[in-house]
Symmetry: C2
Subunit: 109 residues, 2 copies
DNA sequence: TAACCGATATCGCAAATCCGATACCGACGG
DNA sequence: CCGTCGGTATCGGATTTGCGATATCGGTTA
C-alpha cells in the first residue's frame, strides 16, 4: 500500500491542458504523452472524464478528432502556470538546476 | 462554484516536505510559508494531519519544536523531485512561455 | 488565580481524483 | 457475416485531500 507521500495527484488536469496546448491531440495521444512522462498511462476512466470536463468548461474543443485549446483554455492555462510558478518559484533548486532565477510576483485573480 | 480546473491539489504534502527541507520549521512556520507562496494558508485541520503523517512515516522529526527532515525524508524528497522533474521536464516553457506564447495579460475571470 | 492568545492537534465531513469494468463504434480480416 | 481490435466514453466505487469546528497546552498579563 506504499502510501506515496507525494504522488503528484491532482495534476492530471493541468497536465492534460498543458499537453493539448503544445499540440492538438486525441484522447489516445494524450494518454501516450502522459505515459511517457509519468511512467504509466491513466485509465480511460480517468482520462476521458477529464477531457469531458475540460470540454464542458469550454477550455478545450474537439476538432477533426483532436482536442485543441479554446481562448478560455489558453487563459486558464496562463493562470495555472502563474500559480505553478508562484508555488515553486524556487523550482530551480527543486530540479537541481543552477540558481539565479527569480520569480515575478503572481497575482490572484 | 468556480471549479478551478487546476487547483494544484495534492501538492501540499510535497510542498511541506520541500519547505521543511529548506529550514527547520514549526507548524506555524510552514503555514506561513505556504501562505506566502500560494496566497492562502491551509487549515490547521489540513496541515497538522499532513505533518503527523509525515512524522509517522519517519520522514520528518520534531526537534526543539521544529520539524526537520530525517534521512528517509531526504530520500523521499529526492524521489519526489525526480518524478516532478520527469513530469514537467519542459517546466521552462511552463514558467516562461518561451517560443513567443506571451499571451495577453490576465483578465479578471 | 483567571483570562487570554497563539500554536498544536484531532474529529468528522464534503469534495475531488483516480481506477476497473463495461459498452459502443468504425475499420479490418477471415 | 462475424469476430477482433483500437479508440472513445460512461458508471460506480474506493481512496485521498482539504476544511471547519473543537479541544488542549504553555506562556503572558492583569
Amino acid at each position: 500500500m506504499e502510501k506515496r507521500c507525494c504522488g503528484m495527484r491532482g495534476l492530471l488536469t493541468f497536465l492534460v491542458l498543458w499537453i493539448i496546448s503544445r499540440a492538438p491531440a486525441s484522447g489516445a495521444d494524450v494518454a501516450r504523452e502522459i505515459e511517457a512522462r509519468r511512467g504509466k498511462s491513466p485509465s480511460p476512466g480517468t482520462l476521458y472524464p477529464v477531457l469531458k470536463s475540460l470540454k464542458e468548461q469550454g477550455l478545450v474543443e474537439l476538432k477533426a478528432g483532436k482536442y485543441v485549446l479554446t481562448h478560455d483554455g489558453h487563459e486558464e492555462l496562463t493562470e495555472a502556470r502563474a500559480l505553478f510558478t508562484a508555488i515553486f518559484y524556487d523550482r530551480d533548486e527543486i530540479c537541481k538546476g543552477k540558481g539565479g532565477a527569480k520569480a515575478g510576483r503572481a497575482k490572484s485573480a
